[in-house]
């Protein structure tokens, strides 16, 4: 099992789906942000698994994974800054209450 690429890819697919569920279902902005982090981690797992099993992708995989982690860090920085800004305006972290603009 641990020597089959499929099992890692399915695991990453599950994690991606869990992240998607969290993003779609949670009300709190920070919960949604955490769900996105789960999704990005799922992608990273995919990449590292490809690298471990497919010889031609071995080295490249680590490079991509490191970049993705850095990008995720940047995204989290910006995201949390925006959450802080809107929290000051609306005094609630619940995203479904941010619906002043619609239709």
């Amino acid at each position: 099992m641990s020597s089959s690429l499929d099992s890692y890819l399915v695991l990453s697919g599950l994690l991606f789906a869990i992240g998607t569920f969290g993003f779609l279902a949670r009300r709190n902005a920070i919960s949604m942000l955490m769900s996105i982090e789960l999704m990005l981690n799922a992608v990273n797992l995919t990449i590292v698994a490809f690298g471990a099993f497919i010889p031609t992708l071995n080295v490249q995989a680590s490079v991509i994974a490191l970049m993705v982690i850095a990008v995720a860090a940047a995204e989290a920085t910006v995201g949390l800054a925006i959450v802080m800004a809107i929290y000051r305006n609306k005094k609630t972290p619940l995203v479904d209450e941010y619906d002043a603009m619609k239709d």
Partner: protein, 182 residues
Amino acid sequence: MPIGMTIPFTAIRWDDILFVALAALVVGSGLLVVTMRDIIRCGLAMILCFASLAGIYVLLGNPLVAATQVLVYIGAISILVLFAIMLTQTKNAPTRLVFQTQAWAAALAAIAIAVFISVAVTATTWPSAGAVAWTDTTKLAQTLFNQNVLPFEAVSVLLTAAVIGGVLLARREPASAEEDRP
């Protein structure tokens, strides 16, 4: 005495046991992140999820990425998230309703995505070597700083821009500006 590749007297490999355990931990803690009521516990579950993923990266022969995972995700991002949680949890923010009304639709969509990915992945024949290959860190450094130096530089610009903008947006208003707010 070195232990063998398999559990004694059985054909079950240690690796498999480790994989199943870590995978269960990843999925379990992931589910906790998206379902628990108390958002601080969600944050803690997220740290557990990241840690078990780091374990899986070691299993996949990539200790460098595993180390980075621990440093950046657990050391930086999770801490950032926990701070943000503490800054935004007020008493008047109801914690009873954690889910949208559309949670059931979200669950169906997530299940559909999981099924799609699993089906597509297993139906594909990968050019897999059938065994985990360890990543050579020297080679990694070479490719990183030769063929991939431009994305690397771009990421550093990205982080700079994110930090500048993040500080700008999240910093507390100057006292005067705070006063003239309606």
